[in-house]
């Protein structure tokens, strides 16, 4: 603990968001630093590296207007913390935690460190309890459960924001009397997207907290906003015991920001220029989802990832998929066929589905219905390739039936349009489809 603040005017280099300071004494890693511009404006920064008496400091925000002669840097001896209070519900902030809704900041009841702390694996409760999203392809075939992190893999031009909005409007817990709080982090959003989400949030009945970083705002805030969102989510879940759904869109912008900052730090680039520690960095966000034994409240996460070049093996979706518990994949060809939501169930997966379904949770026949739908649809999809070679006429009657099944599956079951289905309705629709084709369900 230092007794006084240390103020320096010893900047040696300014490179992008990074400052090198000389003759710094007793700095700490992660210490919050206040940078005061010549015009009196203040900005926060953080100590990244210390070598002898040289400190490397990273500025949150735009470094435009900084100079070497007059800018002062104050070391605060504190670590970045987030102000918290139940009053945060209903508020909208930017990526630096400044309110955007015109009201002043609430009075903080508690401060928690921005980076959080890892949940002791021995203290984790396994995710359970089904969350109804209203989408058959998710509820019926890739069930989401409380405490899970399930990303939506989208492609440029696909209606991922409509899918997210659908979930925001319709998500419900099976257990009555509990309600969701949605924490929404928007990273690098265009105004067009922002106004869409804003109108959705405004019409929602449940509470929300939003952190919005627009496309033209500093990239550094893109790294901060999701951490603010998750710290708030952890507070609401594990101190206020609410069920929190965190939606982060778009993680691709997050990763690009990470790459930009990493390059500015002159770090060794990994695959496609993304830093080698991207897995650990993404894990430090995604792993904050979960439930804790003997405690009410949960953090469930639905991050949106736009796959560059529609490529699921691109480092961003790839590393995300390795950390998250499954994925919901949106497909371009389904969208072109007019299927909404365009969820391709074959590459989609919910690893925790087992713990959310079955007797006493959804329905006894859930697993069997979903397995059969998968099996028949996969068969039909396989046969489409054959159809392309030999033509419909060259195929057996049974094979033709499977082709029709796949078409009907996409049109009637997955393509539900804007209509919400309860899980019962979803399963009934699935059973009806199987019966329509006189296929068997064991």
């Amino acid at each position: 603990m230092r007794l006084s603040q240390h103020i320096y005017k010893t900047i040696r280099t300014i490179a992008g968001p990074l400052l090198f300071l000389d003759k710094v004494q007793a700095a700490r890693i992660g210490e919050v630093v206040r940078v005061t511009l010549p015009d009196g404006k203040n900005m926060d920064a953080e100590v990244l590296e210390i070598e002898g008496d040289t400190a490397l400091v990273e500025v949150y925000g735009s470094t435009q207007g900084l100079d070497i002669e007059q800018t002062t840097v104050t070391f605060t001896d504190a670590i970045k913390k987030v102000p918290l209070s139940p009053d945060i519900i209903g508020r909208v902030f930017n990526g630096s935690f400044v309110p955007l809704d015109g009201s002043p900041l609430f009075i903080p009841e508690r401060w928690m460190p921005l980076t959080g702390a890892p949940i002791n694996p021995a203290a984790r409760a396994r995710p359970a309890d089904f969350i109804e999203t209203g989408i058959t392809a998710i509820d019926g075939l890739n069930t989401l459960v409380r405490g899970q992190k399930l990303p939506i893999f989208s492609c440029a031009g696909l209606p991922s924001k409509e899918v997210v909005a659908f979930i925001l409007r319709n998500a419900r817990l099976a257990e009555a009397g509990r309600s969701f709080v949605v924490v929404f982090a928007a990273l690098g959003l265009t105004f067009h997207e922002y106004s869409f989400y804003r109108s959705v949030l405004d019409e929602m009945r449940t509470g929300f907290v939003a952190f919005v970083n627009m496309a033209d705002e500093p990239v550094m805030e893109r790294l901060l906003a999701p951490r603010f969102a998750l710290t708030v989510a952890e507070y609401l879940a594990f101190e206020q015991h609410m069920d929190v759904l965190v939606i982060i869109t778009d993680m691709t912008n997050y990763c690009d920001a990470l790459r930009e900052i990493s390059t500015a730090r002159e770090e060794l680039p990994g695959r496609r220029g993304y830093p080698g520690y991207m897995y650990s960095d993404l894990a430090s966000l995604y792993e904050r989802a979960g439930r804790i034994r003997d405690m009410d409240g949960s953090v469930t996460m639905l991050p949106v990832v736009t796959m560059p070049e529609d490529d699921i093996t691109h480092p961003i979706p790839d590393l995300t998929g390795y950390i998250t518990e499954g994925q919901i994949v949106l497909a371009r060809d389904l969208h072109q066929k007019g299927v909404f939501p365009p969820v391709d169930v074959l590459p989609s997966l919910s690893r925790l589905m087992q713990q959310g379904i079955g007797e006493g949770r959804t329905r006894k026949d859930h697993r069997s219905v979903s397995n059969h739908l998968y099996k028949y649809y996969a068969k039909g999809r396989d046969l489409r390739r054959l159809e392309a070679i030999v033509g419909r006429d060259g195929m057996t009657k049974a094979d033709g039936l499977m082709l029709d099944f796949a078409d009907a599956f996409e049109r009637d079951l997955a393509g539900q349009g804007m209509k919400r289905r309860t899980v019962q309705e979803s399963l009934d629709a699935g059973l009806e489809l199987i019966k329509r084709f006189s296929l068997e369900v064991k």
Partner: protein, 541 residues
């Protein structure tokens, strides 16, 4: 103890002005006593890799050398416990610190207060040396043999009955106490008298493994697969059902929820071989992806040292790691922060040699006390983008004895375990098949050959069928396709969530025998002029 000061900090690496340190010596860093390891020495300073989050660490804070490398404590009380990558007991930390890991402090991996009922094997006048068995205590279902550590000399007094690790288990000439536990450096393989070639099978209860690609006790298998191909579920199924005495499972850089699930399941499920709870035969080492990266690198060494320790008691131990890729990535992160010259895809050039040295810690051995124990390994690999040409998979392939390749397209079709039967292999196959022929039934090998042949035939027929359509094939060929489909769905596919999750070798053989004999009788009927549809209808009755 030597003390110095921090000069600089960059991520997990810290440079200090401490002289007289040894390479890989353990150090305590800063006021909060973070654990670190010396990774580079220069004349006037040392570079330390810190195993914990360095946030809040300041220049000028003290650094102390311990004089020993990073070690694990080995003694009774490991079984059923759960540790992080540095052998800190997670259950105890949860009790003391709450659900979040916030404060890091030195906590011993063993409970020194717990009472044990000790039966000595030694008597006054005996000579003690490393590896000698002092006696035993009952640890759950196991006889836990107390192995002598570094202490040497002639025994003067031996304890018996009720003792705790806090008390001496005996005394040597000169008043030296014999402790009930000892420390062993994690990066050093524990010694043994000699090693044998792996020759007996390790039954996993997974049909595709036991039948097509068997694993030997003392062998090493890798299981690479893209995400969603079921690596973790496969490893967990093996952890549950494998025919071994003890399982050491290390969750290295993987999901916290998965570990929660594993723990909950192990508390519920019975070991099919001994009918006891699975937790009673399992040691868990967990360093999830959001826990410090350097401890993740150490976690597999911590775990394998504990596995070797039980091997030295004459047990058959299975070591499961999920996933080796996360370990390699941690190695890469550390190497980068040390500014070492990168090799392929940024991995350090010593990746392959570290991996092979690690895998060589598996094997069947005669221990220092003359017992036979084995350590087998199944290691999952998560290749980025599901691309098996990446450095970690390739480096593993040079040393492993078995390769279970997980196939994304099988996983998409919900065929689990999604192990590809054409690309996978087992170098132990021949020897072990002979063993199965002896222990299960002589036709094991013959059926193995037949099943492989039918699957092979299907593969070539499938290409034809894609062009002419299934209708265009001859009846005998369509029969082959039908049988292959049965082998795939009824034999190779196995639902990890049903009663079928564990299949002992006898039922494995019965199942394939049934399918193959149906096939043979159908072939006979076709020869006699029967129609395929009728034959199949009969078969399904």
């Amino acid at each position: 103890m030597k003390t110095g000061k921090i000069l600089g900090i960059s991520g997990p690496t810290v440079s200090v002005d401490l002289k007289g340190l040894k390479l890989y010596e353990r150090v305590f860093v800063g006021h909060s006593l973070l654990t670190g390891e010396v990774v580079r020495l220069e004349r006037d300073h040392a570079v330390i890799q810190v195993y914990e989050d360095t946030r809040g660490l300041g220049v000028g804070e003290p650094v102390k050398g311990v004089g020993r490398p990073l070690t694990v404590r080995l003694g009774p009380g490991l079984m059923g416990n759960m540790y992080d990558g540095l052998q800190r007991p997670l259950l105890q930390m949860r009790r003391e610190m709450g659900p979040f890991i916030r404060v890091w402090k030195e906590i011993y991996g063993l409970d020194y207060m717990k009472r044990w009922n000790f039966t000595p094997y030694i008597k006054p006048g005996d000579k003690l040396e490393f590896g000698k068995i002092i006696g035993e205590v009952q640890e759950g279902a196991f006889k836990h043999l107390i192995i002598c550590g570094e202490e040497q000399g002639v025994v003067t007094r031996v304890a018996s009955g009720d003792v705790s690790l806090d008390e001496p288990f005996g005394e040597l000439e000169g008043g030296l106490e014999i402790p009930g536990c000892h420390e062993w450096p994690v990066r050093m393989a524990r010694p043994y008298r000699r090693k044998f070639a792996p020759q007996t099978p390790l039954v996993t209860g997974q049909r595709i493994i036991d039948f097509l690609f068997p694993l030997a006790r003392g062998g090493v298998a890798i299981i690479p697969g893209g995400f969603g191909t079921g690596k973790t579920i496969f490893e967990q199924s093996v952890a549950k059902f494998a025919d071994v005495d003890i399982v050491v499972y290390v969750g290295c850089g993987e999901r916290g929820n998965e570990m929660a699930d594993l723990i909950a399941e192990f508390e519920e499920i019975e070991d099919p071989w001994t009918k006891r709870k699975l937790t009673e035969r399992t040691v868990l080492v967990v360093n999830t992806s959001n826990m410090p990266v350097a401890a993740r690198e150490a976690s597999i060494y911590t775990a394998v040292t504990m596995a070797e320790y039980y091997r030295d008691m004459g047990y058959h131990v299975l070591f499961l790691a999920d996933s080796l890729s996360r370990w390699a990535e941690a190695l890469r992160e550390i190497s980068t922060s040390l500014e070492e010259m990168p090799g392929e895809e940024g991995y350090p050039t010593y990746l392959a040699s570290r991996l092979s040295a690690f895998m060589e810690r598996a094997g069947v051995v005669e221990t220092l006390s003359g017992k036979t124990g084995s350590l087998s390994m199944i290691l999952s690999v998560s290749p980025p983008g599901g691309d098996f040409t990446e450095p970690v998979t390739q480096a593993c392939l040079r040393t492993t004895g078995a390769f279970f390749m997980l196939d994304t397209s099988l996983a998409h079709r919900r065929h689990f375990p999604a192990i590809n039967w054409f690309q996978s292999y087992s170098l132990y196959g021949k020897d072990l098949s002979a063993h199965f022929c002896k222990t299960v039934a002589p036709e094991w090998e013959e059926h193995r050959r037949r099943a492989g042949q039918i699957l092979q035939q299907e593969e070539s027929l499938r290409e034809v069928a894609e062009i002419v359509g299934a209708e265009g094939l001859q009846d005998t060929d369509r029969l082959v396709m039908h049988t292959a489909e049965r082998i795939r769905s009824e034999f190779l596919g196995q639902n990890a969530y049903s009663d079928d999750a564990f299949s002992p070798p006898g039922s494995t053989l019965a199942r394939i025998r049934d399918i193959v004999s149906h096939h043979d009788s159908a072939v006979e009927k076709l020869k006699q002029g029967a129609k395929l549809e009728e034959v199949l209808k009969e078969g399904s009755k």
